[in-house]
Subunit: 232 residues, 2 copies
């Protein structure tokens, strides 16, 4: 039977909550493997590394799936979060750019495990085309649109050099893709309605360096002068 839930879920779930749901899911899967049947918000929050009030508010956005005095049924909650995240269906993913990073991604087990199926590996370099990686044969980027269309690819991972990223992005969005995971260190321009998530190793290191410097200096930096000899 198909029925509408009246409260919640109509107004979208807050982004901050969506970003944490996979964390809860991972913690829950660990518990399920260890045979835990129910879990309190306190324990689950601990495992996920968040505050328990936040956890409860996050889950309340999905619906009222807990039992007061008891906690949450692990299996049921796994199902509900999976469904909300869209993991009960299969997603075909194409990886463009099969350098070191692209290979690492193709071989990364975490993809296949949760409804993400690598449906294509593409590269512009003829020396790489034809290689077999993680059970797939690398295809030439000329085939990009055809691969997307024929295999129902809805998520594209860009692992190309920075210079090629925007062009790849243009082509895949033109082919109808609306979800992109970008590893290239550039800000991609995309049409409205296209989601881009960015993973940028260099930025993460720079943020760490900032905090590390703060810790080392015990406070703000003292020197404000422009170094000698540098023209302002």
């Amino acid at each position: 039977m198909i029925r509408r839930i009246p409260q919640a879920r109509d107004r979208g779930i807050p982004d901050a909550t969506v970003a944490r749901l996979p964390l809860y899911l991972r913690a829950l899967n660990g518990m399920a493997e260890r045979g835990t049947a129910t879990v309190s918000s306190e324990d689950l929050a601990l495992a996920a590394g968040v505050n328990s009030a936040k956890l409860r508010k996050d889950l309340s956005h999905l619906g009222s799936y807990g039992t007061r005095g008891v906690g949450y049924d692990v299996q049921y909650l796994i199902y509900q979060i999976s469904r909300e995240l869209g993991l009960t269906q299969d997603w075909a993913v194409a990886i463009v750019g099969v350098g070191n990073l692209g290979r690492a991604l193709a071989n990364y087990g975490g993809f296949a495990s949760r409804g993400f199926r690598i449906a294509g590996l593409l590269d512009a370099d003829p020396h790489v085309v034809g290689d077999r990686i993680a059970g797939l044969v690398v295809e030439h980027t000329d085939e990009l649109e055809s691969v997307i269309r024929k295999r129902g690819v809805s998520i594209v991972v860009i692992a190309t050099p920075a210079t090629a990223a925007q062009q790849v992005c243009d082509r895949v969005t033109a082919a109808g893709v609306t979800s992109i995971l970008n590893f290239a260190p550039v800000v991609l321009a995309v049409p409205d309605g296209v989601d881009v998530r960015k993973v940028d190793l260099s930025i993460e290191l720079q943020i760490l360096a900032f905090h590390e410097q703060r810790k080392a200096n015990g406070g703000p930096i003292m020197a404000e002068e422009w170094p000698d000899g540098v023209v302002m």
Copy 2:
């Protein structure tokens, strides 16, 4: 001459701002290469993909480095942001776990370019130890503490399997490291004062899947029933 800046910088810079500074830096470096001498907040914001008011507020946290009616001096702003982020000094980075991902990271050019020097590659697998990657010889994880101490490593990148990550984390924090970039899909427990940043490919894909599903369904999902045969 060493002098104290009175306003700003005393109260820490907002996290949201720190996370965007590397973005501005990258855009500015591009402009510097193209020979641009000054840039307005409007143009820089466009290049970095943010709102110009936000950009100005972000930069105002560092100090008052613009010129009204003109804009910002590109070189000077590059220097100021670099200094604030701690990129004017060298950071020794060790990468633990030399699988596909570790190799990709070791070969990633973006590290060396901005003050991050790879000072060690370590792995637990004897078959990998001794390999030469990106000019470095892989060492055994037994040497972890000694490498950290002797080479002044202050940032550790964990690219091990999930099962090994917490143990590596414990050892490096015990050895005095307070900045960790974690690629393993686990929530690391660390002592107070240690910063952990997490990069989790699987989580990024799940967030994309959530939005993709929303787009496809044109709204919330309709079925709320627990599927037949599954015991709740």
